[in-house]
């Protein structure tokens, strides 16, 4: 036992928070016990005191260093009985001769046992809370299913809300705004049972490529539900249905739609009539005259998920299920892009800058060279949690020769040139970096680069814009990359400092 006691507790057990007290003793024994190994775990109670509360004290055991102390402690505990919540507390009489040893033993039993058990219990509790929540949802859904079964209410979807499009000749259009920022729209119906929605588009672009990016999340919890990446070409004039993989369940919440575009000028997203309630008008971080007190034109449906309302011509299924993560869309500010550094890997040294920032166009020029890889690095711009990056690239000269463009995310600690060298050598990017792959580009056709990370970035990273030649010539291959859009997923896990830290 001596050997055990000599071992440092911190090496073997989880130490309990030192604020909490688990052992009670009488004030009469204070002198004898205060300096003992129990010192930090002890709280002294006064049998004459009228105190009827305990703060951060969980009396698991009482100790007495004297008979009188034991009697006092019993009296004090009797008085504390009015607190009601405390269990019966055994009292151990510590012998004078072995007080230090016995006190140390009690301390280790309490601290060690409780510490280990509490960690286990914490995990069990977390799991239990989660299971209870899931059970609630299951019960509610089961009942809904049963009701539907009894009512033979299987078919179709029901429109629960509709706000018709309204075209104002003074409208400027939302295309530029969608590329620059995102538009938010709250649903004026509860999330419960919502299985899809429809957005109204008009004027599909001719010769423009890109994607409409739509995400749906809950306002109150910030949890994401799903994301749709819809190529411009798939959008039809009129109503377009976005289907959810499963109807929203659980608590009733407010649904929020976020829409943006990546690529050329997107199809025109229709707005509806003006309304009085500004909270439900479409919003964007960037001010836009068309959004003044106007929601989008949209419809909301409940019913069987995946079923397209018969009157609607198409259906988009989600590209990604976000399932509980919070989604945040962010753009790279100009001041960061301005700091782009040339990290190209090439033996050629041309007489013009191949990598630079274009002030008026907020774009990074990354002119390919006939040999090697041209690369521009923007340091520390990719936030932790980033799961997807998109950007648009164009060769801005009618006679520009074709090339290939790509993006890479590199850890701050990595050797960027080394990783570019690995790419140049035809190998894959190192496991610590993310590479979009090469996308071929010609002067006639701008391209959109989209790549999703297998797992969201764990920490801040560098963004590297890459280009290389795909033919013998790179004449006039003024490749510009712009409209960087990054999407961050935030897990809802505790990420804060403790109060006593």
């Amino acid at each position: 036992m001596e050997a055990i006691l000599k071992e440092s507790p911190s090496a073997t057990i989880h130490r309990l928070p030192r604020r909490n007290r688990y052992v009670v003793a009488s004030t009469r024994d204070r002198g004898a016990l205060e300096g003992s190994p129990l010192g930090d775990l002890l709280v002294f109670v006064d049998p004459a005191s009228d105190v009827s509360w305990l703060r951060s004290t969980f009396p698991l055991v009482g100790v007495a260093a004297s008979e009188a102390g034991g009697d006092d402690l019993r009296a004090a505990l009797k008085r504390l009985g009015k607190v009601k919540s405390l269990p019966d507390i055994p009292i151990i009489r510590l012998q004078d001769a072995a007080l230090a040893t016995e006190a140390a033993l009690v301390a280790q039993v309490v601290e060690g046992g409780l510490g280990r058990l509490s960690r286990h219990m914490a995990n069990v509790s977390t799991e239990l809370a989660m299971l209870r929540r899931e059970r609630e949802t299951l019960f509610e859904n089961y009942r809904a299913l049963e009701n539907a079964f009894h009512a033979r209410n299987w078919d179709t979807v029901s429109e629960v809300f509709c706000h018709e499009p309204s075209i104002d000749p003074k409208d400027q259009g939302l295309g530029a705004l969608l590329r620059q920022s995102e538009i938010e729209q709250l649903f004026p119906v509860s999330s419960y049972a919502v299985s899809g929605f429809a957005l109204h588009f008009r004027d599909p672009p001719v010769g423009e490529a890109g994607q409409i990016i739509v995400t749906l999340d809950y306002v109150e919890s910030g949890e994401g539900i799903a994301e749709w990446l819809v190529p411009y070409g798939s959008v039809t004039p009129g109503w377009n249905f976005f289907s959810l993989p499963k109807a929203c369940d659980g608590s009733h919440r407010t649904l929020r739609l976020k829409i943006s575009a990546s690529g050329g000028m997107p199809p025109e997203l229709s707005l509806g009539h003006v309304i009085a309630n500004e909270r439900y008008a479409a919003r964007a971080r960037v001010q836009h005259a068309d959004l003044d007190m106007r929601p989008l034109a949209f419809r909301v449906f409940t019913g069987l998920p995946g079923v397209r309302p018969t009157a609607l011509p198409n259906v988009f299924v989600p590209s990604a299920l976000i399932s509980g993560r919070k989604v945040e869309d962010y753009r790279l500010p100009v001041e960061l892009l301005r700091s782009v550094a040339n990290v190209s890997l090439s033996t050629i040294e041309p007489g013009f800058p191949t990598v630079r920032f274009l002030e008026l166009e907020d774009a990074i020029v990354c002119h390919p060279l006939s040999e090697g890889i041209t690369a521009g690095a923007v340091r520390r711009v990719v936030a932790p949690g980033t799961a997807r990056i998109s950007a648009r690239a164009v060769i801005d000269h009618p006679e520009g020769k074709p090339g290939a463009v790509g993006l890479m995310l590199a850890p701050l600690s990595s050797n960027i040139k080394g990783e570019i060298a690995a790419l140049a050598g035809g190998g894959a990017a190192p496991s610590t970096a993310f590479f979009s792959g090469w996308t071929e580009i010609t002067a006639a056709h701008p391209v959109d680069i989209n790549f999703m990370l297998e797992t969201p970035a764990a920490r801040t990273m560098d963004l590297v814009v890459l280009s290389k030649a795909t033919s013998n010539s790179v004449d006039f291959a003024w490749l510009k990359v712009f409209n960087f859009r990054l999407v961050k997923y935030l897990e809802t896990r505790p990420a804060r400092e403790r109060a006593d830290a």
Binding site: F58, S85, E136, N277, R498
Partner: protein
Amino acid sequence: MREAPQQDLIAIAMPLYGHAALVLEALESALASVTDCRLAIVVSVDGDPRHEVFDQLVFQAAAHPEIRVIFAENAGPGGARNRAIDYILEELPEAKAVYFLDADNRVLPHTIETLYRRLQTSGAGWVYTNIDTFSVNWRAHYGNRYSRLIHCISDNICDTGSMISIDVFRRGVRFDDDRQNGFEDWEFWLSAIEAGFVGEPCHDAAFEYRLRAEGRFKEANRERSTSVSFLRRQHKALFRRPTLVGFEHQEAPRYALIRTGEGALDIFTDPTQPAGAMAIDDAVRAFWGSVGEPDNFHFPPFLAACNSETLKLLARSRLLPNILCHLEKLAEKANVVFVELGNVESERRIDWEVLPSGARPGAADLAFVSTGLIRNVIENSAIDWFSSIGGEQAWPTTARLKVRFPFPKARQRRSLVRPEQALLNLVSAIATSPLRKTAATRWTWRPRRLPSLSELYKVLRTELGGAPVLPLAHNAAKRRTAAVLVPNASFGGAEKVAYAAGRELKRDGFETHLFVLGAGRMDVLDEFDQSFDYVHFWKDGIPAWGETNHFLGQDFITEEHPLDWAGLRGLLSGFDLIVNNHVMAAHPLMAKFRSEGTRTACYLHVVDETALRRPAGQPYAAIAFEHSYDAFLTCSEQLKSYLHSFGVPFGKIFAVPNGPGFSIDAKMQAQVTEARKAGRAEGPLRLLYMGRLDRQKGIDRLHSTLGQLKERGIAYEARAVGGEILSDDPSSSWMARLRNIGVQVSPPVFAAKDIAAHLAWADILVMPSRWEGAPLMIAEAQQLGCVPMATAVGAVDELVIPSQDGILIGNATDAQIVAEMVRAIAALARDRAALTRLAEGSLATAAQRSWSASFADFIAWNRGVAPAAAILSNAATAAPERDGTTAEAGLSVRAVA
């Protein structure tokens, strides 16, 4: 990367009793919070006898250092929360805010962060969410804007699951731990409001409220009326009219006023406070918003239009709050109300008439309409019908409110735009707005739980039990408020005492209000015209006398009597002091006002007599309500003793000796004194009678006295100044009979200078009254050295010291009184030196008499009246303090600019 600043500490306080099996969910949800802040979770175990609680918490606290636990004996939910608050203040002094999470509820991961950020940016005292329950599904939307008015008079709109600034607790706000109070959470918010804090809604966050078929919430609601009464008692100051109207003014203003020729609307409830401004566009949005989402949008329930000059004039009239009450009332009787102003020097007057559809109401100085009517007009496409108010013949029914008062001398600027037209323009703008198309859709998906903001004035009426509610909040100068009630406002002695009381109260710092209840006019008396900051008339439904029951054989009115109780309550509720001067109908209301915090006083002037000489009148009607009054004022020691004999303690009675009804300037005083000292050795004696020519005043005795003097050859000149109620038989007219014996009869005079001229002319004022109180006329005569000769009735003997400053005629049979008067007048006619001595005695007595001295004790007693405290607002959210002390200072500010 930037260095993260020191993270703020948020405390989650969790009272725990009876939820041993659920607390782990609450704790897990709190622990799962995603926030940049540091968290401390303080569990306050409220004597829960289940040891399972201990077992749970010992492990949780061991595993999570941020969990703090207090075990204590049972103190109820309020007590348990207070223990957590005290712990946080003592042990976690750096905490910035406290979030209360009940042990059976759950918080969503981002809620703490979202609420705390909103708390920081809003500067509010607390931030609250809508309610979404689980287990039993229920949802509530509590409005887009926080309203103290709603929170006080409607329902508890904030769950304790709110983020509360630590400042609230540092200010000493705590939960009430009285277990009889089922609404300890509501009570807490009321305390916070009283301490000057306001809430802020946050729709972007939520917590999960566990609702089961039965629970404390249901229990509390079963005892709702008891609990609500408890709240009213605990927070009297919050529920007084000035406080609630102040909230209304800021949060749900009752009136929107279009200034013709200007591009915006004033919105206000209290016309003495700075009004809010609403652009036409905003007005249109508010109108349609209030149609579709009445709990989120407020459009004032009454709409008025006039030009700025009219508004200035009304503000200066001191009648504006009263006019607004009349307009509210008339808007219930007619579709549209027109106000017509008239300049009359000698009186203030309010009359009204309702005209049928198709009438020609003529041009208006102000047009007034209820928003409800506008809504109906638009819904029923009746714009053309409504537009006729701008033409010659109006198809809506109209009411015409005629307001007469002395205009200030300044020249009025004419308006070139008619108020009716301004009203029509706004209605047209609303009707043609594109918002009309979407107004029917409610976009807020959570169900509405609040009353319509535009109908809050009705909820306020219900709360105060009155309608309309006087639109006056606390004055910014924090002056105490006094209401003086009179049944009519002419030149009677009792009224003059009321005016004098008002003047003395005003001099002592009160904001004074004269209420003329049962009449629609008052005569303007220069002497007292500035005694009152506001004048109010309420004529209809208030009888001068009533008989629902008897007290010692005397009539009194109870609340069963059919009269306009709502009107009275709405007008009179919420004053710091009420002095009831003979308004019989007001007695039954005094107990309620007193319980609400008003100090009540009753002035009694005289014991009347019936034709059969039964003592009767106001004193008996008042004594029946002795319990309701804090004080009585009498005009004499005699009446004081009389009241005492009916059980009113002396300590409750202030005898206020009457002073003169007018004052004279120093120059005139010097002239009069000099003339009286010199005496008039020559010429016939000058006798003056002033007063009603009726039996009470002893007009028959006067006639006999003068006849006998004539028969005895005593030279005199006599004047009788006064009016009489004419009967069908002209031969019975006292005027005619007096003229027949050579008396110069003049109609009544009311101006101080005219009364003074008569008294300065006369040697003797003859007052052969059958009964009196303590007539002011005696003091007025003495002031001018005119010797009063009066029958010793009522408290006359307290005003006249025989052979020193007047002559007292013993109260006896008519013949004996006449004989005694003849003898006394004859003696003075012979002995002019004696007359001069009496005149000098009168002047000396008058020099020692003043209203200020008379009211001194009463005024001193009133210094104990604390002004009903105005509720402060959070600095960040408060409307600017209003500094207007009169209507003029409020609404006219922008008009002048």
